[in-house]
């Protein structure tokens, strides 16, 4: 028993180190680093790389050098890079964007580690020092040297942090910056330097915990990342503020896990096996901690300038768009020769539907969920039970209902609190589901289950083509519903709640109930997509990382707009599935001259796309929409946008042009020519519109005349050439016309810092007069 507790304490020490790093970064910068676990994981790999002998592909460094390199150099340096390159731009960004950017970092790092170290073994006994570990025995109790070292390191960290925060100028400044960043700056401190320091410190602590935990649990990218994720729970016990309470949380967590790991093997409640409860201790603790946290204090004056912006399409536009979408999807799939080749598109649409579930929750209400794939799993599971003997319609309805109820219950403890806790709570729920529920033999034998296809009586969906049609129709219908919802009373309320929760409360709105409603709705849509999955699904499909991917790409695409999540969902589908098919012949290099395996690129790409979000919090869809909005408003451009692809499709369908040529013509039309049409049609003096138009038509014809199928054998090269062609055509059209379109507005600097960041000038005086409602000219000294 004492052995168990001592093991628990050493585990607790690791969590305490990791969690204190989280807390330090969060309190001083206001950003909760979801990637903390991934940093620890990466550090463990890097440490192994540095210290393993050259026989095993390492660099053969001594242990002390490896430790110094990883903990005191690499990790803090990386923290500085991340702060300067990514986090600094997130000042004033919404909670959603902050969460997504750090989640992206997590995904990118996991991808990077999987790519760099596909399989390395480490001898756990020899991991930290070269010689094998002594085991100390006191009667029945065994303690390893590693455990003693771990606990000592944790104590040192605790004392060190205490001294740093309360005894040094730097620490005092760090505590001050928590309260008011601008005020600290006015008093002469440099918040950016403090932020940089605290990221570096946080990363170092993550690295320490990673290096210490790896010998206990072995090297595995995802497992190590998730292990440190356990530290979230300890940090929440400390309310993300208090370091002593965080240590208490870590202690509960470590001992609880140690007990569960030894005492609950083979214990069942009914058929419900508790064997894996050790992995669920952390989510459970996190939930309990949240239940006992005091309600979020509504804060007046916390309303932020809204950086994200979306335009709302009318219901009419939405309906036409939905119809066009279904037609386009069906037409495009029709061109793909064999039915099995269409599987990738099925997955992509399935992801798009899950991503759609985030539009009400994240886009409208500004809340975030990292468990959408768990609700997807709930939907799939229920469909497999009820739909098994032909009751698929009933299965679908029950799946939607149960997902909604589960969603509401999950969200309940977190919704009283701020959006960050919802992200943490849903992440915990996701871990709990994969560890405890989807693992139960009774529920999912062999951790997988076959989900039957929908049977409507008059229609079944056995082929991929049929399934694609079904998913496209469902996506279009739910999409129109979501757009309708946005313009409805409920949708307005959600937007209002996102803009100012405190104002909503003072109007009599029950914030918690409203949030539960929207969370249940979101979970229901995710459950719906799970119920419609129509294939065999496995536990791994519902993992936390899968949910993170969906949420990240939905936000990257533009979670405020249905088109945005479609873009994000399809992108995820392309990265996950289509890429394998499309670039399979490019197994070595995506292009002939770049020797990066596509599969490796696929691992890393989504994370890095997400990290780029900081630059454009509204997501890619708004940029795209801004480019194409004039097209929708110009009748000739719109008819070309509809007629051109339709004509090309007819030519491809009849075999006049081959499929790759069709894709190329489509790309040139959509990206190269159509956005330019409204500009060509606008009378601008000096514009050579007819010459440019002739060039555009000629380039489309030339593209169509090239046989893209035989041009090159590599799909990667084809895609590259197409991109070059699109760019060349677009540039050419505009160059001949002589007019370039203006895009984007200049960023607005914060008015709070006028005179500090930049000197006062005349425009500030004009602005001040306007804002203060003064007579014009007063501040400028005009008569």
């Amino acid at each position: 028993m004492l052995t168990i507790i001592l093991t628990g304490i050493s585990l607790a020490a690791i969590y305490a180190i990791a969690a204190s790093g989280l807390v330090v970064t969060y309190t001083t910068t206001g950003t909760f680093n979801f990637a903390h676990g991934a940093i620890g994981m990466l550090a463990a790999y890097l440490y192994r790389q540095a210290t393993a002998s050259t026989d095993f592909g390492g660099w053969g460094w001594p242990v002390w050098l490896g430790l110094i390199f990883v903990v005191l150099f690499a990790a803090p340096a990386f923290g500085v890079v991340v702060e300067r390159g990514v986090m600094r731009r997130l000042d004033g960004a919404s909670e959603v964007v902050k969460v997504v950017v750090t989640v992206s970092l997590l995904l990118a790092l996991v991808g990077l580690a999987v790519w760099q170290w596909p399989s390395v073994s480490s001898d756990p006994e020899k991991f930290l020092v070269g010689t094998s570990w002594e085991k100390f025995r006191f009667g029945d109790t065994t303690v390893t040297g590693h455990q003693i070292v771990t606990v000592c390191v944790a104590l040192a960290v605790a004392i060190g942090l205490r001294l740093l925060l309360f005894r040094t100028r730097l620490g005092v400044a760090m505590r001050a910056v928590v309260d008011d960043r601008n005020l600290v700056r006015l008093n002469g401190a440099k918040p950016h330097r403090l932020a940089m320091f605290s990221w570096a410190l946080g990363f170092s602590l993550a690295a320490v915990s990673g290096v210490l935990v790896a010998p206990e649990r072995g090297l595995n990218q995802v497992q190590l990342t998730l292990l440190v994720v356990n530290a979230y729970a300890a940090a929440v016990v400390g309310r993300l503020r208090s370091l002593p309470m965080t240590f208490v949380g870590a202690l509960v967590l470590g001992i609880g896990q140690s007990l569960a790991a030894t005492k609950l093997i083979g214990v069942n409640i009914g058929w419900f096996s508790l064997a894996d409860l050790q992995y669920a201790v952390s989510p459970v603790l996190l939930f309990f901690a949240m239940l006992f946290l005091p309600s979020e204090r509504l804060r007046a004056g916390a309303a932020k300038r809204v950086r994200e912006s979306w335009r709302l399409p009318s219901l009419r536009t939405a309906a036409w768009g939905a119809l066009g979408f279904v037609v386009a999807v069906v037409a495009a799939t029709d061109l793909i020769g064999a039915d099995p080749d269409r599987a990738g598109l099925v997955t992509a649409l399935s992801f798009a539907l899950v991503a759609l579930s985030l539009v009400p929750l994240t886009g409208m209400a500004g809340q975030i969920s990292l468990a959408q794939m768990s609700f997807f799993g709930v939907g799939a599971l229920i469909m497999s039970w009820i739909g098994d003997d032909g009751h698929t319609v009933a299965g679908l309805i029950v799946a939607i209902a149960v997902s909604a109820v589960v969603g509401g219950l999950v969200a309940l403890p977190a919704l009283r609190l701020t959006g960050l806790y919802l992200a943490l709570g849903t992440a915990a729920f996701s871990l709990f589901m994969t560890r405890m529920v989807f693992k139960q033999t009774r529920l999912m034998p062999g951790e997988q289950v076959a989900v039957p296809g929908l049977d409507l009586g008059f229609a079944t969906f056995r082929t991929n083509q049929a399934q694609i049609t079904l998913l496209a129709i469902v996506f279009a219908a739910v999409g129109v519903f979501v757009i309708w919802l946005r313009g409805s009373s409920f949708g307005r309320r959600l937007t209002a709640m996102k803009d100012s929760p405190v104002a909503c409360a003072t109007l009599g709105l029950d914030l918690t109930r409203t949030k539960i409603a929207v969370f249940a709705l979101s979970a229901a849509i995710a459950g719906l997509s799970g119920a419609l999955v129509n294939r065999s699904v496995a536990n791994s499909d519902f993992e936390l990382l899968a949910s993170m991917n969906v949420t990240m790409l939905a936000v990257v695409g533009g979670v405020g707009a249905v088109s945005g999540v479609l873009f994000g969902g399809l992108l995820l589908g392309v990265i996950n599935k289509l890429g394998d098919v499309l670039f399979a012949s490019n197994a070595v290099g995506i292009f002939e001259f770049v020797k990066i395996a596509v599969v490796d690129l696929q691992k890393v790409a989504p994370g890095f796309i997400g990290i780029g979000l900081g630059a454009n919090p509204s997501g890619a869809a708004t940029d795209i929409a801004d480019t194409y909005r004039p097209v929708a408003e110009s009748r000739p451009a719109l008819s070309l946008a509809v007629g051109g692809p339709a004509l090309a499709w007819v030519l491809a369908r009849s075999g006049t042009i081959n499929k790759w040529t069709f894709v190329a013509v489509l790309a040139v039309m959509v990206f190269g020519v159509i956005p330019a049409v409204p500009i060509l049609l606008r009378p601008i003096p000096g514009g050579r519109a007819s010459a440019a138009g002739a060039f555009a038509i000629a380039s489309i014809v030339v593209t169509g005349a090239i046989d893209w199928e035989t041009l090159t054998a590599s799909n990667g090269m084809r895609v590259l050439w197409m991109l070059i062609a699109c760019g060349a055509v677009a540039r050419g059209v505009m160059a001949i016309h002589g007019q370039f379109p203006h895009t984007g507005a200049a960023p607005q600097p914060s008015p709070d810092l006028v005179g500090i960041d930049r000197p006062l000038d005349r425009s500030d005086a004009i602005e001040a007069e306007r804002v203060l409602g003064l007579t014009e000219g007063v501040l400028r000294g005009a008569p």
Partner: protein, 254 residues
Amino acid sequence: MALLETRGLTMRFGGNVAVSDVDLAVEGGAATGLIGPNGAGKTTTFNMICGVLTPSGGTVTLGGRDISSLSTHRRARLGIGRTFQRLEVFSSMSVRDNIVVGAEIRESWARTTPAGPQLLAGGADLDRDDEVSLILERLGLMDVAESRVGELPTGQARLVELGRALAIRPKVLLLDEPASGLDDAETASLASLIAELTAAGLAVLLVEHDVPLVMSVCSMIYVLDFGRIIASGTPDQVQQNQTVLDAYLGSGSR
């Protein structure tokens, strides 16, 4: 007994006592002023009355009922409306939609907790669109009804908050510096609007730095300094009070 009363209201932030032992009585059908220098605890008092802050001590009663333990939205449903010193508008929405949201939220809870009459309409029962239009018109916001609130000057945005609060048909209205950012003409029409609302039976608690405005619309004034009430009375009494003159109006005034 006054419509809204506070007894011994106290707020401590750590060791710092922001508001100490404040007793207020806000009568229906009248405007009550709450004045004091910056940092005196006026906004903190507002936050405790409407439930945004939980007081460290003391009670709030509305119509004789102790509402101290109720949440913010429950208090709003019982008839406490407010505006904010630092703007809390729905900045991504149009001016009209800001008011519409207020009316819609009221309609959703009015089924269980009956709301009062719309005082601007003289108690007549209007449908939602008419009521929203009436509010926009009375606040002079008709011309900017379709603009995004985030693009309005602060003064007009304050009026949007006022309109939104009126859309829930409150019994007590807490106004936190409604006149800052308004020009003289707009302030004058705000004063007459407050006078009209109180004449129709509304209780107004007004925090305002524009002393002439407070003196002209309020029948009763409390003066707060360092979290304590240092004087109270009619405008005339307060203006004669030496403590007030020293603490707030400046010892040189009058």
